[in-house]
């Protein structure tokens, strides 16, 4: 203390600040640097929240436009339309016919159309995709896997419009000759096209799920005398079951949301049918085909946004469930 009072003239303010700072370790970083670091952190944080902001914005703006439909059209009109016949009797119609003079907004044919393409596509893809995933993870040699996994990724990168075009030109003709279906473009053709999109998703996610299973389990199973297939079917697949089912859920969500393939290959006739060889019209294809021509602010316009809300909600929850399953699996696999 006494020293301090002797030498103040000899060191300027800057030096004294430096000495002070150096004396307390950890506080050496000057205020300006700390402020700069904080600003940079907030800048990154702002960018980090953009994805969240856009999810919220999608939600808000779909509802902003689509909720009008409930006011203007009404919930029941989205299911059926009661047409008064000439003899004053009432005929209940389940039709999507929004441009008619008596506009009919039943979503039933569109929902049926979506399910008629998405469910068969998911079934085909589950069979092929899980098989391919099991092969990649358990059976293929590491060298082969290094080469084959990118092939699956390449498969996934084919633009959907190309797949739609091929199903329209090549696939439909091929199956027209083979099965002679009622409609040349039908739910089955669209489902086949969709499965090209979903197989790579299920295959690569199945592979990820199975590969995250610790090797100890395989070794223990072999040690007990199990064969390779017994290990796969009794140990590996049960252990990775949640991951595989998450991949199927995501694939199903993708099948529901896919647009171009069903727009080009499903025939776009709003049939309520269980026949795979009839044309169907999906929810996505309806938006894609009609949004361009609809006048803004009309009932039809709001109805299309309402279909968008339904699609968004379904896929949102499918994704959420799949993610919860995957997170649970990750936690469990840390032994």
């Amino acid at each position: 203390m006494t020293n301090n009072s002797v030498i103040p003239e000899e060191i300027n303010e800057e030096d004294s600040a430096r000495i002070k700072a150096e004396s307390s370790f950890g506080k050496r970083i000057s205020l300006s640097v700390r402020v700069k670091e904080k600003i940079i952190e907030y800048f990154f944080a702002l960018n980090g929240t953009v994805a969240l902001i856009f999810i919220i914005l999608i939600f808000i703006f779909l509802f902003k436009e689509g909720i009008q439909a409930l006011n203007d059209i009404g919930v029941l009109d989205f299911i059926y339309y009661d047409q008064v016949q000439l003899d004053d009797s009432i005929k209940r119609l389940y039709e999507w016919y929004p441009t008619s003079s008596q506009p009919r907004f039943s979503l039933l044919p569109l929902v049926v159309g979506t399910l008629m393409t998405a469910i068969p596509a998911t079934l085909i893809s589950t069979f092929l995709g899980v098989g391919a995933g099991v092969y990649l993870s358990e059976i293929a040699k590491p060298k082969a896997r290094e080469f084959l996994k990118p092939l699956i990724e390449l498969f996934a990168s084919i633009p959907t419009v190309v797949l739609g075009f091929l199903m329209l030109v090549v696939g439909a003709t091929f199956f027209d000759d083979l099965f002679n279906p009622t409609n040349r473009l039908n739910a089955f053709i669209a489902a086949l096209g969709l499965s090209f999109v979903i197989i790579p998703i299920i295959a690569s996610m199945t592979e990820d799920a199975l590969r995250s299973i610790p090797n100890d389990l395989r070794m223990a199973s072999y040690g007990l005398g199990a064969t390779k297939w017994q290990t796969i079917s009794k140990v590996i697949i049960p252990a990775g079951f949640s991951g595989v089912s998450a991949s199927i859920l995501l694939g199903f969500g993708r099948a529901i949301g896919e647009t171009m393939i069903v727009l080009m290959a499903a025939g776009n006739a709003a049939n309520i049918t269980m026949d795979l060889f009839l044309s169907v019209r999906t929810m996505t294809a309806t938006i894609a085909a009609e949004m361009g021509e609809v006048s803004q602010g009309s009932d039809h316009y709001y109805a299309l946004f309402f279909i968008g809300i339904i699609l968004f909600t379904i896929t949102f929850f499918l994704n959420l469930i799949a993610e919860i399953i995957i997170n649970k699996m990750r936690k469990k696999n840390i032994f």
């Binding site: 990649l136 390449l154 498969f155 084919i158 949301g257 938006i287 993610e323």
Partner: protein, 315 residues
């Protein structure tokens, strides 16, 4: 593993063989798709085809406006989406603690990747065009420029669509930088930002580039979101405007114009052609160009990722 052979498992070997057959079948289908497109398209694709305009009601000529439009849209998309995605990933990987908010952000990223592409189209129309665009027009008082479908909003919408791809790829690249490098840098007295700038980003750069390439590939192949965001059936002029400073003019992409898009062009040729027999060869040609671009991009990305994963394995 000789002891395994004592346990005869006929059904097992049947199933194992069948997964091999099944995988072979998938590879065969991929090969078939490529072979068909290449076989039908290779005769059409030439420099002239690529750099010519569609003529005679799109039954003759080339696809240059569609290629240019695709380049323009994806360029703006990259400029808009990649910085945000990369910075966002840096936040999630380097700064964010495992709080409720970060978990929600991660969920949002995964969920954004699963939103149907047609819903992005609706969102682009509702948010970018009708809300942002019309309000901008009203504030600037210049009449209808941004409140209608145009290149900028298509790019922005595709940017939101590819954001998760950029974020996930960048996150993977950042996670592959060993923690010891961060500790070493901080131990030498570097601040967090210096560590990120000088140590982490240089190592993660190939991964970030991979994510960008994958995002471009996804953007190039998307059709559904841009259907009603300004993709045009046919445009005689490229969406270009001369930006003049004094006498010196440079042509620039005009973000306020409509545009042709390669993927959309294929859709139009396939479904709304005036003469399907005449357009079919052109269509295969366009498809070959599109699939050529996406495959080239994807193979580059796969190769780069392979290389940097290997390099990181060596550290």
């Amino acid at each position: 593993m000789n002891f395994q052979k004592k346990n005869k498992d006929l059904a097992g070997s049947f199933f194992i063989t069948s997964t091999k057959v099944l995988f072979g079948f998938l590879v065969f289908i991929l090969f078939l798709i490529l072979a068909k497109i290449t076989y039908e398209g290779i005769g059409v694709v030439s420099l002239e085809f690529i750099f010519d305009e569609p003529r005679n009601n799109m039954t003759e000529g080339g696809i240059w406006p569609a290629i240019f439009g695709t380049l323009a849209v994806t360029t703006i998309m990259v400029v808009l989406a990649v910085p945000i995605g990369v910075f966002g990933a840096i936040y999630l990987s380097e700064y964010a603690k495992d709080t409720f908010l970060t978990r929600i952000i991660r969920t949002a990223v995964n969920n954004l990747a699963g939103v149907p592409s047609i819903v992005f189209g609706l969102f682009g129309l509702g948010f970018f065009i009708l809300f942002l665009g019309q309000n901008i027009d009203e504030i600037l008082g210049t009449g209808l420029i941004w409140g209608q479908p145009c290149l900028l909003w298509a790019s922005a919408t595709l940017g939101v669509l590819v954001l998760p791809i950029v974020i996930v790829s960048t996150l993977e690249a950042l996670n592959s930088v060993p923690k010891s490098h961060r500790d070493a840098s901080l131990g030498l007295g570097a601040t967090k930002w210096q560590t990120i700038k000088k140590v982490i980003i240089p190592q993660a750069r190939p991964g970030i580039l991979t994510g960008t390439i994958l995002a471009i590939s996804r953007g190039v192949g998307e059709t559904a979101p841009i259907l009603f965001l300004g993709a045009a059936f046919f445009l005689p002029n490229l969406p270009v405007v001369d930006l003049c400073i004094g006498d010196y003019c440079i042509p620039m992409i005009n973000p306020a114009e409509q545009f042709m898009y390669l993927a959309y062009h294929i859709f139009i040729l396939a479904t709304q052609s005036s003469n399907p027999t005449l357009t079919l060869p052109l269509q295969y040609g366009s498809t070959l160009v599109l699939i050529g671009i996406t495959f080239l991009l994807n193979i580059t990305a796969i190769f780069m990722r392979y290389k940097y994963r290997k390099a990181i394995g060596r550290i």
